[in-house]
């Protein structure tokens, strides 16, 4: 006769995912539960592994450009910018000022689109159904601008190494101005729906706390780090693509809980609008393509460039052996690094908080698995 039946046992192992709708993709979380309490978690990743870094070794530098869009497909333009900057650094060229300004506008627009998708799905996970419709409505406007600019909505392939391929279309500036004017009242609308809502506060306040020291230990970046009170934004810390010209603030909060991360992202959307408004009024004239040959053949060497993607620090480490194909491309994805803090954030919490914490990390599995 066994000492205890399963009725007496306190530990329950539960699989969440990979087909769970609120794991935002194909993330599998193995939860160890004691009743409603989470004793520990383990993430199983790799369901969406496509071997992007290996693909890079068999493509030329220009040919690999569309593949980076498919990593963080919600913020494809940021990915493209990081890769182009890394190869440009190796080639020792810089995009012309006009190209840089347009890059900044599109990247910030993409940040808004990414945060909107995050807000909609996160609210949906918590149980607020309405915001997702409004968020996707505004995201549609941003995607329309991408489509008009480069012909694709999601996996844009908007930037080329050395600058841009596409000149702005007629009415681009007006579209951006209209978007900025239209968007700020809508952010107020989302805040009206959520910020003071007692269910929203009850579900998010003091859930998934990650303080500043823990963030630094884990290497967590992006809004998760800023919500813990660390004023760290690569756009200010090591400006790229002309970000030093624009006046904006880094929103931070102190508690580092899920609610603070929500507030930080909402503020970031407002700051993105500010950057876009400044950039669109000062797009310089001139060429959009730098001095890059048809065949891109960087000298032997390596380059690492990191940019502030919507999810955090996105780094590209490119090694060249002097041929037309990269010897190695290593990506430092923000989501992959942020995800490892998941266990620390929900240990001791409740099962219902798991969904909130996964949502607040803003992960995209395409980038984690690559």
């Amino acid at each position: 006769m066994p000492d205890s039946t399963f009725l007496d046992s306190t530990e329950l192992v539960l699989n969440m995912g990979p087909q769970h709708p609120s794991t935002h993709g194909v993330l599998r979380v193995i939860l160890k539960l004691d009743g409603e309490k989470v004793l520990g978690t383990e993430c199983v990743i790799g369901y969406l592994h496509r071997g992007v870094e290996k693909i890079a070794e068999n493509r030329t530098y220009a040919q690999f450009n569309p593949y980076v869009d498919r990593m963080d497909y919600v913020a494809a333009i940021s990915n493209g910018l990081g890769y182009c900057l890394a190869v440009e650094k190796m080639l020792n060229v810089e995009a012309p000022p006009r190209a840089q300004a347009i890059r900044v506008i599109l990247t910030e627009l993409n940040r808004i689109a990414s945060h909107l998708l995050w807000l909609g799905t996160h609210a949906l996970d918590i149980g607020a159904i309405t915001p997702v419709f409004y968020c996707l409505r505004e995201r549609e406007e941003a995607l329309k601008i991408f489509e008009k600019y480069c012909g694709a909505r999601l996996t844009t392939h908007a930037f080329r190494i050395g600058g841009l391929l596409y000149e702005t279309y007629d009415g681009f500036e007006q579209d951006i101005r209209d978007f900025c004017a239209m968007f700020v009242p809508h952010v107020d609308e989302y805040e009206e729906l959520l910020t003071n809502n007692r269910i929203w506060i009850g579900r998010l306040k003091d859930v998934g706390i990650l303080n500043a020291d823990e963030c630094k230990e884990f290497g967590v970046t992006g809004p998760v780090l800023r919500a813990a009170g660390v004023k760290w934004d690569l756009r200010k810390a090591q400006p790229y693509s002309g970000y030093e010209k624009y006046d904006f603030e880094i929103p931070t909060r102190q508690n580092g809980d899920t609610y603070d991360r929500y507030i930080v992202r909402m503020q970031e959307m407002r700051q993105s609008v500010r950057i876009m408004q400044q950039a669109v009024e000062a797009i310089p004239e001139g060429p959009i393509m730098g001095k890059v040959g048809k065949v891109i053949k960087p000298p032997v060497g390596e380059a690492y460039v990191s940019i502030e993607a919507p999810k955090g620090e996105l780094g590209y480490y490119v090694v060249s052996d002097g041929s037309t194909q990269p010897y190695r491309v290593r990506v430092r994805p923000p989501c992959f690094v942020n995800l490892q803090a998941l266990d620390r954030m929900i240990r001791g919490g409740l099962v219902a908080d798991v969904v909130a914490v996964i949502g607040t990390l803003d992960i995209v599995l395409g980038e984690i698995d690559r």
């Binding site: 493509r59 040919q63 569309p66 392939h157 009206e192």
Partner: protein, 151 residues
């Protein structure tokens, strides 16, 4: 005190309801009624590939330079040609484009020196077979012909 009153009178709830109420008006309907109402894609939309023909004489613009096949990251374009003894130029014989592997990055149309290969605004490319996704030269020149549904 104010917080208590807010709690009793459900102020946050009514605030949210007021937002949803404001958005009830029919002018805020964004749904596209797709088969009945054709979406307007942008001018630069990267959709179905097309091999352009010269409208004056009906001959293909393609000069069989093979640059598109070299530019393609997925190497899904296959161009074959034969040498014309009279004009001493290459004549296009077959042009195969595997749209099932295409990611519409647009590198092939950038590479084309004579604007023969182009990604057009057509987007209805669904087929019933895998083989139907591999487009030959005739299909590329004529473009997809989706069934038009009316109601």
């Amino acid at each position: 005190m104010r917080g208590l009153l807010n709690k009793i009178f459900l102020v946050d709830l009514f605030q949210g309801l007021w937002v949803t109420f404001r958005n009830q008006h029919p002018k805020y309907i964004y749904t596209e009624r797709y088969p009945e109402e054709r979406p307007k894609v942008a001018e630069r939309y990267r959709g179905a590939p097309r091999l352009n023909i010269n409208p004056d004489n009906g001959e293909t613009l393609c000069i069989s330079c093979n640059l598109c096949a070299l530019a393609c990251p997925e190497t899904l374009i296959v161009v074959t040609s034969e040498r014309n003894e009279v004009t001493k130029r290459k004549d296009l014989t077959t042009f195969t484009y595997d749209t099932s592997r295409c990611m519409f990055c647009g590198l092939c149309e950038d590479a084309c020196p004579v604007d023969a290969l182009e990604l057009t605004q057509d987007f209805e490319m669904a087929t019933y077979t895998r083989e139907g996704q591999i487009w030959d030269r005739q299909m590329l020149e004529e473009g997809p012909k989706p069934t038009q549904y009316k109601c």
